[in-house]
């Protein structure tokens, strides 16, 4: 009997010592908290750069103006309608470009370039955007506005200015300050000699999707969908409408109907070494690039985004990592592991057709259709064709009277991936395509619902520039609509609920996979322990007496 307490004591001290070590280790592990000896040499590292924030590119034939093609490019996502006081100007030190490749060599044959200037009458003493209602772009109450210069270059020739100091539609700051925004929008829509139409300024973000679809890549699943994450937000939009002859190869859209389009932003190159003359030079450095939508989400992994943003299309085929991601994409494997939808066999040459060459029979790809590759242009030299990532549009495909949001996959050949209209549901099409629907010709039923967001929250217009007016009113406080000009028979707005600026579902329904698994784990452990205890007790009561006789229990009566 005396051994027991002694043994216990011997056990206690090491236990205490061990606890002491553990505690000490825990304290030490809190890590150093260094006070900042801040030197004024600490420069910003991740400064926000709106010029580099390319969001979308659209290319489609004008439904109401035959013979003209529309190219629309957007920048700066998640523009809060109340984002004062500086709002969202275009960058003045960068050039915004829309490039067109008509002969398939992945080099631009036509470049449209916008550069911007600030017209700031605030003098640095105030930050107010306006000091009274703004009824026109020349209103004295508008203290800050921008103008742009558009120049173009064809077939590598020098840039020629098409218009300078053209007005930019300002950020929409509310009904009190801008009672008739449509008027400001009309003033910012210009027509040039030669029939070109131009627009630059803020607009409703025409993209509609539930961004949570891509949470698959981060451990989420497709259970929470149906909310248009971009509803209520605005973007900066550049739109141009030009006749076919200005972009088609040799000016002949009948023989050479296919064009490839992509948008870039660039800044001047700067040298700090290696040259006698240091500083900015004539060449340009590309800071962002966009062709097909969702390439970054579906195809290009995080590590290659930087590479992709900095190279021009003619270099795509030379980066094996990018090509590999197209031929062996990650998304189908994730979908297979979560939903059991079998991933199509690699190499995915159908995706190569869609993203890198255009759908054609001439490149040996599996999709046997001639739709939108420059290889189908009659005057193209096939030997000079280079696969590259860009949005390809066939100008000869007739305009569909009733556009289908699923585009080519629903047999509406005017839709994405043959160019891209504002109403095309890029996410659903991309998800279906990445699951092989383009190759088989059949939609994958399990994913038919897609992200359950099928239309934009605002209706598009049916004349240039087509994009809806910018929203007003804070996103979470109920959106003000910015329906575009004139009645339209486009599908009605499917406003699907509120969404915060965060890329997250409404928290009341939150349940990430980890919380669930933790809960189950603890439930199992807890219940198991309790059951064990009770069972132990119950079983003990059934044992025979002598096994449990303790020395001190048997006391002589």
């Amino acid at each position: 009997m005396t051994t027991q307490p002694h043994r216990r004591r011997r056990r206690v001290v090491p236990a205490l010592a061990a606890t002491g070590i553990v505690l000490a280790g825990a304290l030490a592990g809190l890590g150093p908290q260094v006070s900042s000896a801040s030197s004024h040499r600490e420069a910003p590292l991740i400064a926000s750069d709106p010029a580099a924030d390319n969001t979308d590119l659209y290319a489609f034939v004008s439904p109401e103006r035959p013979g003209y093609v529309n190219l629309i490019a957007n920048w700066i996502p998640f523009e809060e309608p109340d984002g004062g006081p500086n709002f969202y100007p275009f960058a003045t030190d960068a050039a915004y470009n829309i490039n067109v490749d008509s002969d398939g060599d992945a080099k631009a044959d036509a470049v449209f370039r916008w550069t911007f200037k600030n017209v700031d009458r605030r003098g640095g003493s105030t930050f107010l955007y306006n000091n009274g209602p703004v009824t026109s772009l020349d209103d004295k109450n508008l203290l800050f506005k921008q103008t742009y210069t558009l120049s173009s270059s064809f077939n590598g020739g020098p840039f020629q200015t098409r218009i300078s100091d053209a007005p930019v539609a300002p950020s929409r700051i509310g009904a009190a300050s801008m009672p008739d925004y449509q008027k400001l929008r009309d003033q910012a829509t210009v027509q040039l000699k030669g029939g070109w139409k131009l627009f630059a300024g803020q607009a409703d973000d025409p993209f509609f999707l539930d961004l949570r679809v891509f949470d698959l890549l981060y451990g989420g699943d497709l259970s929470e969908t149906g909310t248009d994450t971009l509803a209520g937000y605005n973007v900066n939009s550049l739109a141009i409408q030009v006749p076919f002859k200005d972009v088609a190869l040799r000016g002949d859209a009948k023989r050479n109907p296919v064009i490839g389009v992509w948008t870039t932003t660039d800044r001047p190159k700067v040298r700090v070494t290696g040259q006698t003359e240091l500083g900015p030079r004539g060449d340009r450095v590309q800071v962002s690039r966009l062709g097909n939508p969702l390439v970054n989400e579906v195809v290009v992994p995080a590590n290659l985004k930087d590479a992709f943003n900095s190279i021009s299309p003619d270099k795509d085929a030379g980066i094996p990592a990018v090509v590999k991601r197209v031929t062996d994409p990650e998304l189908p494997k994730l979908i297979e592991s979560i939903y059991g939808v079998p991933a199509p066999a690699t190499p995915r040459n159908d995706l190569v057709e869609i993203f890198l060459t255009g759908i054609t029979t001439k490149a040996g790809g599996p999709i046997k259709a001639d739709l939108n590759s420059q290889l189908n242009n009659m005057d193209v030299d096939a030997k000079r064709f280079r696969p590259s990532e860009m949005l390809r549009l066939n100008l000869n495909v007739p305009v569909t009277a009733q556009p289908n949001r699923l585009g080519v996959l629903a047999k509406d050949l005017q839709g994405f991936p043959n160019g891209r209209r504002l109403t095309d549901d890029a996410v659903d099409i991309a998800v279906q395509a990445v699951e092989g629907a383009a190759q088989t010709g059949k939609l994958v039923d399990a994913l038919a619902a897609g992200d359950k967001v099928d239309a934009n929250d605002n209706t598009f217009g049916d004349v240039f520039p087509y994009v809806a007016l910018p929203n007003q009113g804070a996103v979470n406080a109920g959106k003000g609509t910015g329906t575009a000009k004139s009645g339209t028979n486009a599908s009605p707005a499917a406003a699907v609920g509120d969404s915060g600026p965060a890329l997250s579902p409404v928290s009341a329904q939150a349940s990430s996979g980890t919380a669930l698994s933790t809960g189950i784990l603890v439930a199992v452990i807890g219940v198991g322990s309790l059951v064990t205890i009770l069972a132990t007790w119950w079983l003990r009561r059934r044992r025979t007496a002598p096994a449990f006789a303790r020395a001190e229990d048997t006391i002589p009566l």
Partner: protein
């Protein structure tokens, strides 16, 4: 005996289970998220927006390693802007979490850790992080930024320039322009540096970034002796972001140079209150001494000592500041020892200058001379280095050298220091009178 053991075991399992249930569910409190402020007073701050967006997203999707890394980087950036060191542990936590979710093939988290290391003055570690990040993603401009900062502070100028050039070739923008401007400034090309910093200002969007660029432009004007230009830039920066402390330091410098000591003291006091680091406290002490308030100056120096002691106690190491503090106290021996150990760690211009001054204060002028010359060589447009070279040259008897150095001080920026500027001017006139 088995049965007591079993009993104890059963009892302890029961207790542990109950306690665990209670501890997991009942006792640990995760506080609800703080309520959003009622009205946004400051102009739109993209950095703050991106932080709150990332926080909300990570609450829903904790396995998004990219957003964890981006949040960590954003915390580091915010710590720089607000000079609030309590964000460093948060940044480290977020970046380590990103690496826990995805350990390999996560260059963005490595870049974040590198930026954090730079902020903590652990430049060698930052260099390693940046190099590793580049191995994973050779197109990452941020990694080049971190690498450039580390190389600069470690004294490896050619490597720093190469890194900055790569950054410019990948993503020209505010971050790249600011570093390029600093690089050119280090090489003495002030006009080009100013031009690039103006480009950076054009690209700046957030008020804190505008304030940063204005501050740099003010400093560049200051180094060129242009008091009015400096004053204009600092004022414009304060209009953009009144809470950006370096602007107030600049304004104090200009006020002191223009003879308005009281205004200078007021600004320096604000800075010393908000960010009581040794360098701000030492500046404040110097101005107080100039204003004839010596006891208060002594007190600020004591505070500077305390601040440095805390920094070291927190695991930081900054012998450069230690040496400067020792010099203000008149402790030349410690100053030499500390400056030498920092020089061994990184042969940077500032360190050479302080080592030279320390050796001069210890009376070892012959040893001081090469270091003073080195500093002046590394920073040919820095009037302060030239002045220190002049004092050392005078002490060894090299009048011609001293005269040349003092002339350079006058060309570059006669206002470089409110205490030493007038001394330099007097010494130069005395030397020229001798001839």
């Amino acid at each position: 005996m088995r049965s007591p053991l079993r009993t104890v075991a059963a009892g302890s399992i029961a207790a542990v289970a109950l306690l665990a249930a209670g501890a997991v569910f009942g006792l640990r409190e995760t506080p609800p998220p703080a309520p959003a402020p009622v009205a946004a007073q400051a102009p739109a701050d993209r950095l703050a927006e991106s932080i709150s967006r990332a926080q909300a997203r990570l609450r829903e999707l904790p396995r998004d390693h990219e957003t964890w890394a981006a949040l960590g980087l954003a915390y580091v950036e915010r710590a720089r802007v607000t000079a609030d060191p309590s964000l460093y542990p948060k940044a480290e936590g977020a970046l380590r979490r990103s690496l826990k979710v995805r350990a390999a093939d996560n260059p963005v988290a490595l870049v974040g850790l590198g930026a954090l290391a730079n902020a903590r003055h652990e430049f060698a570690a930052a260099r390693t992080f940046a190099t590793d990040a580049l191995r994973g993603n050779p197109y990452n401009a941020d990694a080049y930024g971190v690498l450039a900062d580390a190389h600069t502070q470690l004294g490896d100028a050619p490597a720093a320039t190469a890194a900055i050039q790569r950054m410019l070739d990948l993503r020209p923008g505010l971050a790249a322009y600011a570093r390029a401007s600093y690089d050119l400034e280090q090489h003495g090309r002030l006009t080009e540096a100013t031009g690039l910093m103006r480009r950076a200002l054009d690209a700046a969007v957030d008020p804190a970034d505008v304030a940063f660029c204005r501050n740099q432009l003010g400093d560049l004007a200051w180094f060129a002796g242009d008091l009015e230009g400096a004053a204009t830039e600092y004022a414009a920066g304060i209009a953009a972001d009144p809470s950006y402390q370096p602007l107030l330091r600049g304004r104090a410098r200009v006020a002191a140079a223009s003879g308005r000591i009281d205004a200078a003291i007021a600004d320096a006091a604000t800075v010393a209150t908000r960010t009581p680091t040794p360098d701000t406290l030492m500046e404040y002490a110097e101005l107080l001494r100039l204003g004839g308030r010596a006891p208060e100056a002594e007190r600020q120096l004591k505070l500077a000592d305390a601040a440095h002691k805390i920094f070291v106690a927190n695991g930081g190491s900054d012998d450069l500041t230690g040496a400067q503090l020792a010099l203000t106290r008149g402790d030349a021996a410690s100053a030499v020892r500390l400056a030498r150990s920092e020089w061994r760690r990184r042969p940077f211009a500032d360190v050479a200058d302080v080592l030279g001054r320390a050796l001069h204060a210890a009376g070892r002028d012959a040893e001081a001379l090469p270091y003073a010359r080195r500093a002046a060589g590394l920073g040919p447009r820095n009037a302060s280095y030239a002045y220190h070279l002049a004092t050392v040259s005078l002490a060894v008897g090299d009048d011609a050298g001293a005269r040349a150095a003092l002339r350079r001080v006058r060309e570059l920026n006669p206002y470089f220091s409110p205490t030493d500027g007038p001394t330099a001017a007097r010494a130069l006139s005395a030397l020229e009178a001798q001839r």
